[in-house]
């Protein structure tokens, strides 16, 4: 069973932490579609605050950088807001995500993917040796046991 599934891009989820105020939903920091949805949401939010008479923001363009860690990478995004008359008139989110997973998984570098590996019992297969995580030294394992014992005490 070999297939190449399309996966949600993790970057989109993590971005909410950085740009959550913009209600940036969906996935992929760099696609035009996502920038568009951010614009829509931010515009909606500001339409409400714009009706207030107590404005406090100077017109102009504001840029801020944010970074966040995914399990295997550190991602950076740049958010640019354009404000006029206390209303956000433009939002731009750009980034250079390290983890372009959905792209990579369909690339030339990967030959195949399967979601299910049954495996076989070592008793049923003839092999000359086994390779996995290296067996560790007695010292390390003793330390692990000590920690467990202390944690249980």
């Amino acid at each position: 069973m070999i297939r190449t599934p399309s996966r949600p891009v993790r970057v989109g989820v993590a971005l909410v932490g950085v740009a959550g105020a913009l209600s940036l939903a969906g996935c992929g920091a760099t696609t035009a579609a996502d920038t568009g949805s951010a614009q829509t949401d931010a515009g909606r939010t500001d339409a409400g605050s714009g009706s207030s008479s107590s404005g406090g923001y100077a017109d102009g363009t504001y840029t801020a950088e944010g970074s966040y860690a995914t399990p295997e990478s550190v991602e950076t995004v740049t958010v640019t807001l354009t404000i006029a008359d206390d209303t956000v008139t433009d939002v731009e989110v750009t980034g250079d995500p390290q983890a372009r997973e959905s792209e990579q998984y369909q690339s030339q570098f990967i030959g195949g993917i399967t979601d299910e590996v049954v495996g076989k019992s070592l008793d049923d297969v003839s092999v000359s040796r086994v390779s996995g995580s290296s067996l560790t030294s007695g010292g390390f394992m003793q330390a692990v046991e000590l920690i467990k014992a202390e944690a249980a005490a």
């Binding site: 069973m1 070999i2 860690a69 399990p71 295997e72 990478s73 550190v74 390290q98 983890a99 372009r100 997973e101 990579q104 998984y105 690339s107 030339q108 570098f109 990967i110 030959g111 195949g112 993917i113 399967t114 979601d115 299910e116 590996v117 049954v118 495996g119 076989k120 019992s121 070592l122 008793d123 297969v125 003839s126 092999v127 000359s128 040796r129 086994v130 390779s131 996995g132 995580s133 290296s134 067996l135 560790t136 030294s137 007695g138 010292g139 390390f140 003793q142 330390a143 692990v144 920690i147």
Partner: protein
């Protein structure tokens, strides 16, 4: 040599011992003499005395406070590979990751007491310098060559023994295996069930190295494969296996495959591989299971 003679399983007296924190198996066509064994142990000890951050008397321990030490023989070969690993993984693999491992408790005394994660110095190439005679650190830093050191040592031992012994030769350091003049059928241990294997690789005059997060682990989500940029253990990939002409390159690729960019680096290096993610998905390289790399996965 006839095909039959190359198949493992004939009379190949093995030598088993523990060194550098792992189990070794060295199988030769003719038994190793006591002197030959002693020479291998000296070789391993010399490497350990230079590169082990678990030894107070090692070169890397002496360099932890910065300064210069006589140039270890393998420094250049290993730091060249680290430069490639660093570039390919966007900085996730870094030879100064020792500080990150210590922060999580994987230190010389195996304290296994976790502090806040610490990232490794991203500009390690400015911190580490080598010339004809010396290895120099421009500031205090802890070298950890865990990503490739064991592979390098397997290569050193195999190359040394090839000059001593005729015929089939296999060096296996805790599952990092290189063989010469023989075919080994190697099971790929399931990272979540050591009684099972997820596939087999038929290894011939090449090296297979593995890396997994299950055994060198000391707490919830705490294990030895860290992202040097954050100092936090990886969570997406559970186990990797890589096949290459040398164990150092296979070991390096096995580490890179925990990170984005690893598959591309393997492609550039011509390394074949398999990896399993923590949700059980298995991926493999285009050449895995082909003429380039005879192998089978039990899907």
């Amino acid at each position: 040599m006839s095909d039959e003679a190359r198949v493992a399983g004939g009379p190949r007296p093995g030598w088993r011992f523990e060194a550098i924190g792992t189990q070794w198996a060295i199988d030769t066509h003719e038994p190793l003499t006591d002197d030959e064994r002693a020479a291998v142990l000296v070789m391993i000890d010399e490497f350990d005395r230079e590169w082990s951050r678990f030894r107070e008397d090692s070169t890397v321990s002496a360099l932890a406070s910065g300064g210069s030490r006589p140039l270890p023989a393998d420094a250049e070969a290993m730091f060249v590979i680290y430069a490639d690993l660093d570039a390919a993984t966007g900085g996730a693999v870094n030879p100064l990751v020792g500080v990150s491992l210590e922060a999580l408790g994987y230190d010389r005394s195996y304290s296994l007491r976790q502090s806040a994660p610490v990232n490794a110095p991203a500009d390690w190439r400015r911190v580490v310098s080598i010339d004809d005679r010396a290895l120099t650190l421009s500031q205090p830093a802890l070298i950890d060559v865990g990503a490739i050191g064991k592979g390098r040592l397997v290569d050193l031992v195999l190359d040394h023994l090839e000059g001593q012994k005729q015929g089939a030769l296999t060096v296996d350091a805790g599952g990092d295996v290189r063989c010469s003049g023989v075919r080994e059928r190697i099971g790929l241990e399931h990272p979540y069930d050591p009684t099972r294997i997820i596939g087999v690789v038929d290894l011939e005059d090449a090296a297979l190295c593995a890396s997994a997060t299950n055994r060198r682990a000391w707490g919830d989500g705490l294990h030895h494969v860290l992202d040097a940029r954050t100092g936090v253990p990886v969570r997406t990939v559970a186990a990797t296996w890589a096949v290459a002409p040398t164990a150092m390159v296979a070991d390096a690729a096995a580490t890179a495959l925990f990170f984005e960019g690893g598959a591309e680096l393997a492609y550039r290096w011509g390394v074949e591989w398999v990896r399993m993610t923590t949700v059980g998905r298995v991926e493999w390289s285009p050449g895995f299971g082909t003429e380039r790399c005879r192998a089978e996965l039990f899907t």
